[in-house]
């Protein structure tokens, strides 16, 4: 029947997006590896490879909540933080029993993601009872709480096992013991085991998870809930359960990103994952387009690299960054320009003139 063709384009269309995304990522990986191999990549950029991939992953995770699920989260840096410090603890504690860096990294990522997802589940219970700006404020609050909690955590490890104290550092470590999280000082003397390759693999896995999620009943439920709550309920969708699933997956992925990030630096302070960081990730997502995964990858890459590329502007670079941000927002929301762009892009849909919605 003729419908089969329509079906094919509809179905392939969704997988097409996923394939394009992953294809571009793999292509970029190959190009970058080649550049590194031939020595044509500046060391500044080599150092940014893992951070950029970490930010891409957490931005994709945030897009799942903000773009696909339609909820504003102002505390996602908190999940990154949980992942980062969990990863650091795991990597340090297993250093002797798992000498292979790659395996240790992978295990740390898995555990970090699970812990972050768990906290995502806990947090989603109060958060998803609220709506709109009130929901956003509670995510902000949780981000601050997480930062505060880790800031006041003292965790050490020696042959007798773990030592933990809160707010005040009462830990007595034997010689040879390691201080894992030292309150506001955070983690020090971490082995840097994150690699760009693992990072890219994680990006690809994330894309698989997100796209497959969106093409399943769970994803469709989330998007329906985003578009119209009442209508979604009227066809049997449980709003809270639906949003929780998206939120927890997002938290887990953000946690994985955090592990990758945290194990890339020998020192890491909890204060790094503050409100500003959450906002930064939000900017990456919005600029890339809500729900647009490829857009997120591109915008994150550009925005993370931009301060480096503008280094020649010295002190003025963050100022220019700010101006660029404002200008982009104004320009992309200017009705004259969006009209022009719409005419440029051809779509298979019936022209909006025919209906009066």
């Amino acid at each position: 029947m003729i419908k089969v063709d329509k079906l094919k384009t509809a179905f392939l269309g969704k997988n097409k997006n996923r394939s394009i995304c992953i294809g571009i990522v793999i292509l970029a990986y190959i190009i970058i590896e080649l550049m590194m191999f031939t020595g044509s990549l500046k060391s500044i950029f080599i150092n940014l490879l893992v951070p950029v991939t970490s930010y891409i992953i957490v931005a994709l995770a945030l897009n799942l909540v903000v773009g696909v699920s339609g909820e504003l989260s102002l505390g996602h840096a908190g999940f990154m933080s949980i992942g980062a410090f969990t990863g650091v603890v795991v990597a340090n504690v297993t250093a002797t029993m798992i000498p292979n860096d790659t395996i240790r990294l992978i295990i740390a990522i898995i555990i970090g993601a699970i812990v972050a997802a768990f906290f995502g589940l806990l947090i989603s219970i109060p958060v998803l009872k609220l709506e709109g700006d009130y929901l956003a404020i509670v995510t902000l609050a949780f981000g601050q709480i997480i930062k505060s909690l880790i800031n006041n955590t003292f965790l050490g490890y020696d042959s007798a096992g773990f030592h933990f104290s809160f707010i005040t550092n009462d830990i007595q470590l034997e010689t040879g013991g390691k201080m894992l999280i030292n309150g506001p000082i955070g983690a020090t003397a971490t082995d840097r085991i994150s690699t760009f390759t693992i990072g890219i693999i994680l990006v690809i896995i994330t894309l698989f998870i997100i796209f497959n999620f969106m093409n399943s009943k769970y994803g469709r439920n989330v998007m329906a809930t985003r578009d119209d709550r009442i209508a979604a309920q009227s066809v049997g969708i449980d709003i809270v359960k639906t949003k929780t699933i998206a939120f927890v997956i997002s938290a887990g992925i953000a946690g994985a990103a955090g592990v990758l990030y945290g194990l890339n630096f020998s020192t890491l302070v909890p204060a790094k994952f503050d409100f500003n960081q959450s906002i930064l990730i939000l900017v990456y997502v919005v600029l890339g387009g809500l729900g647009n995964m490829l857009g997120t990858i591109i915008s994150t890459t550009v925005l993370v690299l931009l301060p480096e590329l503008l280094r020649f502007l010295a002190d003025y670079r963050m100022l220019i960054y700010a101006v660029v941000l404002i200008v982009i927002m104004i320009v992309t929301n200017n009705p004259k320009i969006t009209e022009f762009l719409k005419k440029f892009l051809k779509r298979k849909n019936i022209e909006g003139d025919q209906n009066n919605g």
Partner: protein, 260 residues
């Protein structure tokens, strides 16, 4: 199927908003496979009753029974699971999703695969998705929307949007379908087509239909029974002929015979 059971029955259903009584003493006994009409002037409380039946509102008093089971205290979601689906007066489609996806969402809750199975694209996911795709296409065919499969809902012409809402509601396999002004904004050809489709749906899917409409030709044309509402209270209940000749109804709502 017990003969003394009704697909829908309410007892003294009513709701107050603050000091205002919007609906009072609403009683209905709707037989299986009936097409039942709910008519009345604007503001009479018709949509409010739909909201009560689907638990968008909680009744202040009274009871609701679906297929013999009391649903007065159920939630919007569980009422749908128990067998009531609806369309909305002000069309609530998932505007940015395609026509196909809108209907598929109606079929979502019947699918059983788990999250892991969907992310890893395991066999049960693939099988159920294929089935759902087929079912969705079939529904769209019945409603004459199969040409618009991958069009975004917001880009559909108005009349077709209304039909899509019906398709989506049907996808949830209801026992009772509530249609809120399904013919609003349609021209006579579309309206006649809709009348046929509604009767077809009733046969094909073995369901009962309760509808709100202002188009008297439509209502008198396909409803077996009608309840007239005015100021939140029932004015009259009866067959189309009885209603047409009811003097109170004429005075309050129908006006002269030319109206119909």
């Amino acid at each position: 199927m017990a003969n003394d059971r009704y697909v829908l029955k309410t007892e003294n259903l009513g709701i107050d908003f603050g000091g205002l009584t919007a609906v009072n003493n609403f009683n209905i006994e709707m037989k299986y496979h009936d097409i039942y009409g709910l008519i009345g002037p604007n503001g009479a409380g018709k949509t409010t009753i739909f909201n009560l039946l689907t638990k968008v509102y909680n009744p202040t008093r009274g009871k609701i029974y679906l297929d013999g089971q009391e649903i007065t205290n159920e939630s919007i979601v569980s009422v749908n699971k128990l067998g009531i689906a609806r369309t909305f007066q002000n069309i609530r489609l998932f505007k940015d999703l395609t026509v196909l996806d809108n209907v598929k969402i109606g079929l979502n809750q019947a699918m059983k695969y788990s999250l892991i199975e969907s992310i890893l694209k395991l066999p049960r996911y693939r099988k159920e998705e294929k089935e759902v795709e087929k079912k969705a296409l079939h529904l769209l065919e019945v409603l004459g929307l199969d040409e618009f499969v991958d069009v975004k809902a917001k880009n559909l012409p108005y009349g077709k949007q209304r039909k899509l809402e019906i398709a989506r509601a049907l996808a949830t396999s209801p026992k009772l379908l509530l249609l809120d002004e399904p013919a609003a904004g349609m021209n006579p050809t579309e309206t006649a087509e809709l009348m046929e489709i509604i009767q077809l749906i009733r046969e094909k899917f073995d369901i009962s239909i309760l509808l709100i409409e202002h188009d008297m030709k439509f209502v008198m044309g396909i409803c077996e029974k009608i309840t007239v509402l005015n100021f939140g209270q029932i004015l009259a209940t009866g067959t189309p002929d009885e209603i047409k000749n009811n003097s109170e109804v004429i005075a309050a709502y129908l006006g002269s015979d030319e109206e119909a």
